[in-house]
């Protein structure tokens, strides 16, 4: 490892740091924690740099490590979300739970909303989702993991994964509808 040139590794980092950081940020919902996790990912990459340099699957390896470290971080520092999310369901509160995107959704967004603004709205809404909804949604749509593997990773039932992903989509539907991508009623009534 002492033979790795710093500029070579720095170039490697520049190529993948956005992907690693984005993966960690979307799973943890925190940019601060995502930066710490990204640092850990690249330190691990440095230890295996000789093999990674010539590997075609380096992007997948980095994404997998970032995902695993993010999930480990969540399970280590958060409260047991699945337990409490089930308590909320038993209380019946989750049925009427209103999604707060954390910003004011204007009623009259122009039909030709700038694509950059729309993406920013969606990203903010994604980060504001409750953890038990955001994590399986991110693993499904960005991590391309099947439901079964998500359930195994999160140690929850398959039904819970599907329910949480459905509710996450319903919560995001408001943002997508206001930005003109779809109709909220399409999701809510399906």
């Amino acid at each position: 490892m002492d033979s790795v040139r710093p500029d070579e590794f720095a170039s490697f980092m520049r190529a993948y740091q956005d992907m690693v950081f984005t993966t960690a940020a979307r799973i943890t919902g925190s940019e601060r924690h995502a930066e710490d996790i990204s640092q850990e990912v690249f330190l691990k990459a440095y230890e295996s740099f000789a093999q990674l340099q010539s590997s075609q699957a380096v992007g997948g390896w980095l994404r997998t490590v970032a995902t695993n470290l993010s999930l480990n971080h969540l399970s280590r520092y958060r409260r047991r979300w699945r337990f409490f999310s089930e308590l909320r369901r038993d209380d019946g509160d989750e049925e009427g739970e209103a999604f707060d995107p954390g910003f004011t959704l204007p009623d009259g967004l122009p039909a030709d909303l700038d694509a950059d603004n729309r993406r920013e709205l969606i990203e903010q809404a994604l980060m504001r989702l409750p953890e038990h909804q955001r994590v399986p949604l991110v693993l499904y749509h960005f991590g391309e993991l099947p439901y079964e593997e998500i359930a195994a990773q999160l140690h929850v039932s398959l039904a819970k994964v599907k329910t949480d992903i459905f509710r996450a989509r319903a919560a995001l539907a408001k943002v997508l509808a206001r930005s003109g991508i779809t109709q909220a009623s399409d999701v809510i009534s399906s």
Binding site: S38, Y46, H141, H155, I181, D186, V187
Partner: protein, 145 residues
């Protein structure tokens, strides 16, 4: 109105179009600084794979020595308390060490067998209770699949 499959595809397409978030500018500097810090550590604070060859050889030799001492100790414990059984070649300063193990073996052999077997049975039962309670607690907390 869209079908559920169409909606899922729409969500998938929309989310995948999301651009990557830019990593903080400080990330690269942090990583390189940490790498430099780890490289500056002395070899005994690094993983075994980074030890000098001489240190690794000494470690293996010491490990074999410890294994030999352990086996020898087990032999001392199992021998009876006889002077000739202790007649092994050790320096005078440490010749008392085998007698400790032999004495422990004598005490263990003097105990009624029922006590020894009873103690082993109690320890085994306690382990089983520990596993049973842990499994019950796990099943209680985990949701039913």
């Amino acid at each position: 109105m869209k079908t559920p499959e169409e909606l899922e595809q729409l969500f998938d397409r929309t989310l995948r179009e999301q651009p990557l978030r830019p990593a903080p500018r400080s990330l690269q500097a942090r990583v390189l600084a940490e790498i430099e810090k780890r490289q500056a550590r002395p070899w005994w604070q690094k993983s075994f794979a980074h030890w000098p060859l001489a240190a690794r050889i000494v470690f293996f030799a010491a490990s074999i020595g410890f294994v030999k001492v352990g086996l020898q100790s087990a032999m001392w414990v199992s021998t009876s308390l006889r002077a000739d059984a202790l007649a092994i070649q050790l320096p005078a300063e440490v010749s008392w060490i085998p007698s400790i193990f032999t004495a422990a073996g004598f005490v263990a052999r003097s105990l009624p067998p029922l006590w020894l077997y009873g103690a082993l049975a109690v320890m085994g039962a306690m382990y089983m209770v520990l596993f049973a309670v842990s499994a019950a607690a796990y099943r209680t907390v985990q949701p039913q699949h």
